[in-house]
Assembly symmetry: D2
Homo-oligomer: 404 residues x 4
């Protein structure tokens, strides 16, 4: 369980830090202006395209992908400090490195479970960053954290599958460059609960697929990342070879996808917390009330100390989880993945909330990144299963350890 950076990680870390300082952070206000002036705000901003070109040139592309055929071949432990750094500028940095959700998870999924044709048709352009993708699992009508509840139907009809269902909070789908949806649905509604689901690729332009509207998150629509769409599928027909893996394999693929997806979110959340702490400290040092800088006032100090102490713990738990995933596999790290899923979004949400409080009214507004960080962190207490589902499951395993 050695968390020290090896030489490769350290070299990449330094390169990434330089990229952040020289290019990404200065691009933040530029991006904001471009966003405000954009004809179609769902399109990626031009400065992002520049950053992507530059990231590629600097060898900072597709770092997330452990599959050496296609990506950097980093372990989770190597990737963790890098993903954390991108979290400090969550609107730009992950996308600049082609390391943003949900594409990363989709690319991993295709690399592992996709057919050679699917690799050629979808994975490669995703790796090039020329197209984007979405993962369509959550449904408005059911508690989707329990995959057995999924109601979307995928029915075989000759050489095709017919898909019917309603999905929402489909991240990235508002981006017009999002050209393909990986849709989770039931192929065998009466079968073994863990063999009922399948996953299938649905191109955006397939008749019957409609991107209906953008869902918001605490007032934000995350146009940076292609938003979160409500998507209906009405008698959508795709060729049978669009199925990913085998029929009934959807649950297993989802499980395989979720582990890395969750830890990537947690890595970035730690970077978000670091950004919030930095802003909180700068504000506390620079702002005077009642004759003394906020930094001299006890309660702000308590918040800063607690934030630092919490982040140190979260980071170590994420690193341990990454190390476990690397050594015993995602299944072996199941408890730890749940542990970080429980702890990191919740704690980072609290840290950002306190940073907001130190900033006064402005903390909730658009002149600081805190409100948007808050919305992101808060939404991750619900995405990929609410806290309570993971607590319940983790407790069951803890209880089992103590049952005689």
């Amino acid at each position: 369980m050695d968390f020290a950076h090896d030489a490769r990680t350290e070299e990449l870390r330094e390169r990434l830090e330089a990229f952040m300082t020289e290019r990404v952070l200065p691009a933040e206000p530029v991006a904001r202006e471009q966003r405000a002036a954009a004809a179609d705000r769902w399109e990626p901003v031009p400065v992002l395209t520049e950053l992507q070109r530059e990231a590629r040139a600097r060898g900072l592309w597709n770092l997330f992908l452990p599959d050496e055929r296609y990506g950097a071949g980093l372990t989770n432990l190597q990737y963790a400090p890098l993903a954390e750094i991108t979290g400090r500028s969550p609107q730009l940095a992950p996308a600049a490195l082609n390391c943003g959700a949900p594409d990363t998870g989709n690319m991993e999924l295709l690399a592992e479970f996709g057919s050679p044709e699917q690799h050629e048709r979808w994975l490669k352009p995703l790796l090039e960053g020329t197209i984007r993708s979405a993962f369509a699992m959550t449904e408005p009508a059911v508690a989707s954290s329990d995959a057995r509840n999924i109601e979307t139907r995928i029915e075989r009809d000759g050489d095709e599958y017919v898909v019917n269902g309603l999905k929402w909070y489909i991240s990235g789908a508002m981006n017009p460059r999002c050209e393909v949806f990986i849709v989770m649905g039931k192929t065998d509604p009466e079968g073994d609960p863990r063999r009922r689901q399948s996953m299938i690729l649905v191109p955006r332009d397939t008749p019957g697929l409609t991107v209906r509207r953008a869902m918001t998150v605490l007032g934000f629509d995350d146009d940076w990342h292609g938003g979160h769409a409500e998507v209906s599928l009405e008698n959508v027909r795709v060729p049978a070879e669009n199925l990913i893996g085998e029929e009934g394999g959807g649950f297993a693929i989802a499980q395989a996808r979720l582990g890395p997806g969750r830890i990537h979110h947690c890595m970035r959340l730690i970077g978000m917390a670091e950004r919030a702490i930095e802003l909180m400290c700068r504000r506390a040092l620079g702002r005077t009330a009642f004759g003394r800088p906020l930094a001299d006032q006890g309660v702000v100090r308590t918040w800063i100390a607690d934030a630092r102490v919490a982040v140190e713990q979260l980071r170590l738990l994420v690193l341990k989880t990454a190390w476990l995933m690397d050594t015993v596999g995602n299944r072996g790290a199941h408890t730890e993945i749940q542990a970080i899923k429980i702890a990191v979004p919740r704690t980072v949400t609290e840290i950002v909330d306190r940073a907001i409080q130190v900033h006064g009214a402005g903390g909730l507004g658009q002149d600081f990144p805190l409100a948007e960080l808050y919305a992101s962190a808060r939404s991750l207490r619900l995405a990929d299963g609410p806290d309570e589902v993971h607590q319940r499951s983790l407790a069951r395993r803890e209880l089992a350890r103590h049952a005689d």
Copy 2:
């Protein structure tokens, strides 16, 4: 300290409940559609105008104003249960009754401190609801909760005052019908700290006053209420008679205004909490996960119980504060006003947050009112002074009680 509703309150309460059920709640989706379709989203939606007409017809107009010359002449204790009810639909109900912030505070201020000419020119159209107003105190550059920090200058020049300064989070100012600003600034920057400030009326169309941009609150811009604007004042000249009260009286007027403003917010917050509890319960009853309704799952029950227990306490403290304001005056109720300012926004924020959690991803989105309730409640932990300023002040008085 009798909190029972008297006959008049009870009669008004029933009338208001009927109005809510018959008109306001059904208008919510209508208003949302009108908002989405509006050419200028800062304009009030048409359905609001209808509601206002109806409220007037039903005798539910200007209930907030204790001054019998102009308003309903209700005591704070009588008004409390009515304001609470409007909080259940905070986008529409307060405005429908001409009882929304910041106009209520401005009308009270003018009724108490304004000259007869100011009554005629500004107060009357405000009472009619034909114009709206803003209260310009907060500044981006200083901790405005300490009024001594205000940097805007109001300088006498012959028969005029010249105003220079930058304000932000000026609620209501994006509404084009907002025709007048009550601006707080310093007339005597070197004088006694509590006699340095004055308040002055600045019509919107005065040269030099620029409404620069809309500030957001957690991604919302509160277009319902005319938003929150950044407003610059550059060599703005107004006649000397636009001063409210006397030179140096600004601090005292602000103090007088803040008490009622704060308690009105708290009354409505309790209604917002009731709405959140109702939504949380309905969702818990209607949603099944892992084979059982959420309502049968322990942690949701804990949240519901704690929310109910908290709201009962908050309401009683607000009622006691209202009763004190009625009997010993706003100054005599100073500690209690601070107590509710500390307790109510914080607790209601937590209650709404848990209601969101019960709703899953949708809880953060636009299909439920929870995200917007959250933003409102959260912002009130900062508006009119952050929690920490009030804690500090209340503690000082508590400590003084125990100093020998």
Copy 3:
């Protein structure tokens, strides 16, 4: 819902305040020394006997009992501010006024449900303070908050009942003057779940009843109040007329007893919180660290403010509950009784904990009353049903309100 003190309450309150200041608080160190020097520490200390005599002389005796035949005939609302005052010195004041648990509940129970012979034999000496009593409900082997779990058997055998069972945390039973136990057990284990239990009077000297040992609470044994005993009953025979009320009436009597018992605890807890706040403030004012009094340090101020704001709310909720019990009866006030049972012990525990923290190591020791206050408050999160049982039940009723 008028919470103002009426003339009688105000008169008693002033009389009681004088008694506290002149006699009770000065007796605290005396009692501590007498306790340390006592041959049998379970015996009441001599100074308590003096205080009782004095309380009687001052007309401050049996204030708790609403039954005018025997007690002061105060309503709950009248008694609340008086009980609160006694909470400031919880080791001495309630006992000094013959208003301490569990005797108060037992006296109420006997007054309401006891036969004339039981009144003569047990109630009158209890009212005189010449004997003490215990209430034997909780059992070590089962979750006793669910009365259906009670396993003690009470079986009819001719003119007698035979009692078998094991009870623990039987408060007051270590006091040798505790001469009678009210024992809850099952007379009809197969009957309707709410008609299975009965209550019966068992004199201490009955063969088969053994006071086995003193249970501790966070290291304290509450010798002040006769401790908390483990009591076994092995073939204990008592005359049939010792049954209280009718066979099968135990559950109903328990319910009737618990409401007043719970609110009395809550009233006193508020006084305990006031004592903790006073100590916290005095310490904060008198102690210097890092060059400034603790009172000037932000986090202590936050604690003081939050404590004051919380206590104001708790007191109002207790008063409302008292008023409801007086007007609609204990059953009608069921939700509110649960609400205070949930809120008051938990919040007061936190307040005392923070007062301890302000005192440093000494806060946990015997030189301040805080550690003992902490243990008392903490134990009331478990006594009469743990928080979670009440949350569960209160939530069920809240949910029912929102079920269509």
Copy 4:
């Protein structure tokens, strides 16, 4: 930063686990009985002496001491998992291994700063376990977390020093085998604030040293560990060679002592948390209320999950701190030592509190180790400086990182 157990640690860990299972845990009830039956309860119980003999025979003696001349020569990282295991039985295991506070800190201090004569006279018998020692720093009259406040005087007078002062919460001092006190006091009250203090060895039988009374901690007197005494020093004369190190070196020695002392407490606290989690789970599995085991009830699951997630984080932070102490020294690990001092006692206190709640009334009593665990954990939020002092200091360093 490799946290994996090396071969030696793993071997010791297994040996220690066997010792715990075979000897220590079975000795717990024996010790309790011996304690209850003891003539002098401050004397160590006989079973402890047996355990010590056995621990020595098994090669589990003085594991704490990194100094290879005298101890096991383990690094902090090697010692951490072993100390954690002893924390599961905190009354017996640390003492059985001669690894209990405050002797460990005193032995380290003497090994590092003591003269050869002091090694011979005091360190060796301490290492043998034939005598015990105390560390006398805290004073009742001042905030002792700020060492500058210490008021005890140590004055040179010819070949002797004269010590005057009053100390309290001097752990271990009630044990009659505690033969020596390391006393902190001021030799140069007007000097540089960090050079004013010195430390000196005062044998228990020195005239003028009086062990006045046992201080309690939440009702416990920790007789297991020799309690916590109030100790007065009145004109106590000791030879000048009893000074440890040089005059004015007391502050630096205290700093050196505190780091290892704090981390040892934290290591054991994690074992205490593990014990609490185990008890909580067993209780939840074995106890039924309202027709279902507590383990099936949501809120208990939440507590179990949160406890597990918290403990994993705490352990990693302790291991990182240990690793830093081993690699960059105690001074280099200053921030991390403060971080664990802030996080571990507070979090473990909460975990134990919830385990108590799951146990009902019994959780606070003597039949489970939880109440005593609670008192230990709670007291460590105050011992060696209250949380707030460490938060303040850690925040100052965090703020400094962000000051431009």
